[in-house]
Structures are given as C-alpha cells and as structure tokens.
C-alpha cells in the first residue's frame, strides 16, 4: 500500500522532475564537474602528468597568499567594495524608482527609464575608455576642462590610489543603478493605488506616503535583491576592477580583488597551482559568507531566508 502511494506520488511529480533535468544537467556540467579542478590548488602542477597525477604538495600553494598582505588585501577589497555597492546601490535604485513613479507624463517616464538603463548596456571595456577620457592626465576632461580653468594642477589619476575607491564606486553606481531601479520601479507600479488614497485621506504627507506605503510594499523585493547580492559578495565585477583602472600597477592595492588576482596570477605569473589556490580560497570564504548572511536573515525574517 505504502509502496503504491509512493509510486502514485512519483507519477504525479514525474513531469516536474523531468522539467528539472535540463537545469540539473546544466548545473552539474557547469558548476560541479569543474570542482574537480580544485585539486590543482594542492598540487605542483605538471602539464605532462595532468590534473590528477601531478605531485601533491599539500598546502604549499597557499603559503604565498598569506606570506604577504595579498590575501588580506584582496579579501578586504572584495568585501568592502561589494558592501558599499550593495548599500549605496540599493538606496540609489529605490530613490530613483520612487521618483520615477511620480513622473506624470508617460513619454517623459519612458525617456528617463531608457536613459538610466543605457549605462548598464555598455560594455565595461568601453566604459573604461569613457573613464579614461575623463581622467587622462594630459587630455582628460577633468584635468583639462575643470582643474586647469580653476588654476589647479592636473592630477595623475591613474597613479593615485587614494581616489580610486570613490571612482570605482561611482562608476559602478552609474553603470548599475538603472537596472535595479527598473526592478524596484516594477514593484512600485504594482502597488495598489487605493493605499495611497487611504493615506491621503488620513492626512499623510508625501514623505509619509513614501515611507509607510511605498517602502513597506517594497520590503520583500529589497530583501530578495540584497540577499542575492550578498550571495555574490565574494565575486567581483572583473571588468570594473581590471579594465576601468586600466590595469595600472600603482592602483593595485585598492583595485585588486580575488578575481583579478587569480587572473593576473595565471596570465602574468603563469602559475596554475597558485591561481587555483586563490580561487579555492575565494570559494571557501564565499561559502562561509553566504551561510552567515542567510543565518542572519533567518533570524530577522524567517520567511525570506534562502534555506
């Protein structure tokens, strides 16, 4: 009897499982099979012997990471930048979404929407040259058209690490806020107008309407989006950190993230084992962070936790 009911249950769910297969196959091929490559982090890689037969050297590949400030540095950069991106990015996106909602004219609304979305669609390589157009020491817009008329000396932007945390953040926000604004905007549009009417009748000011109606309705969307970005907090936008600073050596301290570090390790230093070690480190710390973030969310609002 019991067996039969399991069978019936299975028959009922079978189509669902079938629908699951393509996704599972994809994830398996794309995300699980490459995990075998993690073994390279513990090897002195030998191209003749290949991945599984190269001599094992334990944790030796990791020592160089921690022998210098590198590990600390790239971890700090990756985390802090992403934290700033998440906080400022969402605040900006929500603000813009709320403002957009108050634009009455349909044509204007469409124009604004398109305009703020355009940067998101530009390739990072092109963005990096737009930035270069502004920051180039001799011909750049800022040095030439702003600082010079003010009688100030031009700044060698690409050699001065102190400016770059701001530049990178600015470029990131400029490029990405449009996209998240549109997502928030879609939710804002969906809010029932009667709430606002009720609020107005109760004498709510404009600010109170935003705070008590719009923002509360946005809460689930905000939590989902923030959680999704926290899940990726240990990944960085490679183009943003590699292309935009033009791979300038002087800026490495403030622009090196784990992804660029691994890439540099492989292309300029030609060391597979150590690159794999850095990648492994990224996975481990990323894993821990996602678990922690999820744990916190579960404490705060259980139904929104991922697992």
């Amino acid at each position: 009897m019991n067996k039969k009911s399991t069978f019936v249950k299975w028959r009922r769910y079978l189509p669902l499982y079938l629908m699951l297969i393509p996704g599972v196959v994809y994830i398996f091929i794309n995300n699980y099979i490459p995990m075998a490559g993690l073994i390279m982090a513990f090897e002195k890689y030998d191209y003749k012997l290949g991945m599984f037969k190269s001599p094992k050297i334990g944790l030796d590949n990791f020592t160089y990471l921690f022998a210098t400030k590198d590990a600390l540095n790239i971890t700090r950069n990756t985390l802090l930048y992403n934290a700033v991106f998440i906080i400022l990015g969402n605040i900006l996106a929500i603000t813009v979404a709320v403002l957009l909602n108050d634009v009455r004219s349909k044509t204007k609304k469409k124009i604004y929407q398109t305009l703020i979305l355009i940067p998101y669609l530009i390739s990072t390589v092109i963005v990096s040259y737009i930035v270069y157009g502004f920051l180039n020491t001799q011909n750049g817009f800022i040095n030439n058209s702003i600082l010079e008329p003010l009688g100030k000396n031009g700044i060698a932007w690409y050699s001065q690490p102190k400016y770059w945390p701001f530049i990178i953040t600015f470029v990131y926000l400029w490029k990405n806020f449009g996209y998240s604004s549109i997502i928030y905007f879609a939710t804002v549009v969906g809010i029932d107008k009667t709430y606002y009417e009720a609020a107005v009748i109760d004498g709510a000011t404009r600010w109170q309407q935003v705070r008590y109606v719009t923002l509360s309705s946005l809460k689930p969307t905000i939590i989902t989006l923030v959680l999704m970005s926290i899940g990726r907090i240990f990944y960085s936008d490679f183009g943003l950190f590699y292309q935009v600073p033009m791979n300038s050596g002087a800026l490495i301290d403030v622009t090196n993230t784990i992804d660029t570090y691994v890439y540099r390790g492989l292309t300029t230093l030609n060391n597979v084992g150590m690159s794999a070690a850095a990648g492994f480190y990224q996975s481990i710390v990323g894993f821990i962070l996602v678990l922690t973030a999820n744990m916190i969310v579960r404490k705060v609002s259980r139904e929104n936790a991922l697992f």
Binding site: T68, K69, T137, G249, N270
Partner: protein, 510 residues
C-alpha cells in the same frame, strides 16, 4: 525512496564516467604521441603523402593582419607540405598573457617564441609546459644542433636538457638612448661618445627648450626599456649582478641597487619637469608612434649592430643611438636564451621539430615568416644582392605583416633590408663576439625551489616597477616601500638560493 536511490546511482555513474573520460583522453594522447614517434621516424627525407599532413600551430611575436598571417601560412605550407608533410597555422601578435593562457589551457600550439622577459624557461621546463629537445634535435635537426655554439646551447639548457633553440639574433646588447636624428643634429647634440645621466639631462633640456610641445623622453608601452646600464638580470630581475661588466658574482636585490635608484631619481625628476611624458604608465603606445607623430624625441633602449637602420625602418624617421656610460655591449644568458620552444600541447613534436628545422635552415621559409609576402610586404630593391624594401605606398606603419627578424629562429638567412649595411649579419656576428660576457653567462636560474617567493615578489614588482621606471612614482618613498614589501615577500630567500646555485655553477665551470 527507490527513485532517490536510482537518481543517486545515476549521478554516481555520471561522475565516474566523466572522471574516467578525463583519464581516457590523457591516455589517448599518450598513445597518439607514441604512434607519432613510430610513423614519423625516418620520414625526414621522404616526401609525405597528402593523407598524413600534420597541422603545426606557430605563435609568433610580430604583428600582422589575420589575412596576411593566413597568406604567409599558406605560402609556407606550400613549401613544407611536400617537404615534411606539415601544414602551418600561424598566429601573430601573441602577447605573453595570451601565450601563458594557451600553454595553461592546452590549446593547439606547437611552436612558440619564449622571450626571457616574458616567460621563464626554467619555470616552463619545471612544470613540463615545454618539452626537452635533445633527442628531437639530434634526429631531425642535426644542422641546427651543430650550427649553434656549445656556449649558446648552455644558455637554453635547464637541468641537463635543452629546452629551446636560441634565436640567431643579437646575443649581446649595449644599453643606450635612441633619438630622432634630425632634431639631434639641428640642436647640435653630440652622440658620438657615451653619455652620462648629466649629459642626457642637458640634452633633454635643450630639446624641451627648442620644442616646448614635445616630450624629450617617452615611454614604450606604458613602461621603459630597462635597465639603462650593463646589468645581468640572471633570468628574472629578482636577484641580479648589478654590473655585468665587472667580475663580481654577488647576487643583489635589483631594486635596492644604487644603479636602479639613480635611474629612478633622474626619470622622476624629468617627469616632474615635463621632460618625461607625464603619466607615462598609462600610455599604451610604443615609442615608435611617439617618434613618428612628433610627440617624442628619445627613449632608453638596448642596441646591437645594425640597430639604427632597423629602428629607422620601424619609426619612419632617421634614428641614432648613443651608448649610456655604463652600458657597453655585454652578453648575458637572457640575451642568448630567447628561444623557440615546442609546447607540451604539441600532438606531434617530431613534426614540430622538423618544422623548426626548416624555419632555421630554409631561407625561403624563413624569409616568408620574417618578411611576409613578396609584393605585399616587400619588393626587391636589388635582387642580385638580396636587398629588399617596402613596396610603393607601404611602410612600417601600414604594412600588413610587420618584419621583426630577430624574433624568428634565424633572421640571418633572410634578405637584407635597404638601409641596412649589406654585411649586417657579419657585423652582428662581430658585435656578438666582441661584447664582454657577464661572469654568469650560461647560468640558468632554476626557480622551482622558491616558487612561492617568486610569485609573491612578482606581485610586488608588478605594482611598482612600471611606475618607478617611468617616473610616475616618487623613488624617495616608493623604493623603500617596495623593498620593504619585497623583503616581506621573501626576496632574500630568492637571492640566497640564486647565489647558492650560481656559486655551484661557477665552481663547475672552473
């Protein structure tokens, strides 16, 4: 429940299969390699039938358009297919990043150039990215083996095996300053005797005064060719002999030497005063473009016999070079061991070696690869003397296939360019012979014992080097900071290991 089990079994099987597949393909590779040995043996002389044409992929240093590279490859294949059964696939303009990625990812790649300032031969040999050539050379390229001197082979030997065929180019270099001749002459700059930094300083000022819009000193691709004195970098510049012209064999930290500090101090000062192009570290153009467009006057360079003519052709303006005071021609391992190597990726190393043999010994093949297609990239200026020049309307800036002879195995069997001395190759031979050898010439540094330190140190070097060499960073603060970081990264361990290896090597020589 059962289904779950089934599913689990399914996954397990899939996993096992993929793992096995990985092993399988590796085994296949070996099998095909050994099969290659059998079939290729003895086929050197025999014209191969069309059925077993092997494609050999060559990575090259010079720039070209894709079409031109394909055209050259087709022309070369026309010769090599009947001769050794090889069809050539040519990729030009390969950067060191591309090369490293191709070697790491197992892309199709048989023959490539290994420049000591881009890749480390001993690292590639230690990780088996390249294969030992002794047997292949003896079997398929005896002329190459006997044609290159014992001394030179020693420079491309790692732990007893030959790993590369040294390019038949300048094997010694002087260090100097090259500049646009017309301006130098106009301002009465004397370039007949070696310059000190003070001389250079005075001359740069002269140029700036006469041409305020020009930068007297320009970088090359965001950095500067260095060092500007005779230094033996001992394969990488972590641990060097400060002066290759002296007898001292003491390994020191390059970035802590007085020579380096002095150089950086001058360049920084020039950058501050507008004599050096500002923010040079973020330029991408080569000095040729700066010279050609009239933006730049001169840059540091290494030089050899026939250098001025070669540069004149490259820059499109008459170029002269003057030796720097401490830059007399000298010869070190790194100058000799720029080599052509066979990648471990190669499915048919025997054919690759046969191809390399032709590239080294066959003038027709060599000339096609070095100079491109007749009519497109060059025409005869004087066929009887074997002198060539650019066709009408073509010059160095718009040719579809740039001629960089020294980056090929043997430029000395190719045609001579108009403007070069007709006996340029003899002159080069003289130059190579007369240069003073560094006491460590022939010593190949094996960094496999200190890879962690080397990687960590290279990270530090990446951060500071270009900035210091181009005067973008203040040496007063940046050099101590850099050395502090280098020490933390273990440069002293590297220097110790290098010194020990060098001492052992020196003891062996006597």
């Amino acid at each position: 429940m059962k289904m779950k089990k089934l599913l689990a079994t399914g996954f397990a099987t899939a996993m096992a299969v993929t793992t096995l597949a990985g092993c399988g393909s590796a085994a296949d590779n070996n099998a095909s390699q050994s099969a290659g040995t059998d079939s290729a043996a003895g086929s050197t002389q025999v014209a191969a039938s069309n059925d077993d044409v092997t494609t050999i992929t060559i990575y090259a240093y010079n720039n070209s358009t894709t079409e031109a590279a394909e055209k050259v490859a087709a022309a070369v294949s026309e010769i090599t297919e009947p001769a050794i059964g090889v069809k050539v696939n040519l990729l030009t303009g390969v950067s060191s990043e591309q090369l490293n990625l191709a070697l790491a990812s197992g892309e199709d790649l048989d023959l490539f150039f290994a420049m000591p300032w881009q890749v480390s031969m001993s690292t590639m040999a230690a990780t088996n990215q390249i294969i030992a050539l002794d047997d292949l050379l003896a079997e398929y390229a005896p002329d190459v083996l006997s044609g290159i001197s014992e001394d030179d082979w020693r420079c491309s030997t790692v732990s007893g095996s030959i790993y590369g065929v040294p390019m038949n180019k300048d094997k010694a270099q002087g260090r100097g300053f090259e500049m646009v001749k017309s301006i130098a002459d106009e301002l009465g700059i004397d370039y007949s005797t070696p310059w000190t930094y003070e001389d250079l300083d005075a001359n740069l000022r002269k140029v700036k005064e006469a041409y305020p819009d020009m930068y007297p000193l320009v970088p090359n691709g965001g950095t500067m060719i260095y060092p500007a004195w005779a230094c033996d970098v001992l394969s990488d510049d972590l641990g060097v002999l400060e002066n290759a012209l002296s007898d001292s064999t003491q390994v020191v930290n390059f970035y802590d030497t007085d020579s380096f500090k002095e150089y950086c101090k001058w360049v920084y000062q020039w950058a501050q005063e507008g004599l050096m192009m500002p923010d040079a570290v973020n330029t991408t153009e080569g000095y040729q473009e700066f010279f050609n467009s009239g933006v730049g006057f001169g840059t540091f360079t290494s030089f050899k016999a026939g250098f001025e003519a070669e540069e004149t052709r490259k820059c499109g303006k008459d170029i002269v070079v003057v030796q720097m005071e401490n830059g007399a021609p000298h010869s070190t391992t790194s100058m000799v061991n720029a080599s052509w190597c066979i990648a471990n990726n190669s499915k048919n190393p025997e054919k690759a070696m046969q191809m390399l043999n032709l590239m080294y010994t066959n003038p027709e093949v060599s000339n096609l690869l070095v100079n491109g297609i007749e009519g497109d990239n060059w025409v005869f200026a004087d066929e009887s003397k074997g002198v060539i020049t650019y066709p009408e309307g073509v010059d160095s800036s718009n040719t579809s296939y740039s001629s960089v002879g020294w980056a090929w195995p043997n430029e000395q069997i190719t045609y001579v360019w108009e403007g070069d001395e007709p006996d340029v190759w003899e002159q080069l031979g003289e130059f190579n012979k007369n240069a003073q050898s560094s006491p460590a010439k022939g010593f190949v540094w094996d960094n496999s014992g200190v890879l962690n330190e080397v990687t960590a140190c290279n990270n530090v070097v990446e951060k500071y080097r270009a900035g210091l060499l181009t005067g973008c960073l203040d040496p007063e603060t940046a050099i101590p900071q850099m050395n502090q970081e280098l020490e933390a990264a273990g440069i002293n361990t590297i220097i110790e290991a290098k010194q020990a290896q060098l001492d052992a090597w020196l003891a062996e020589q006597n």
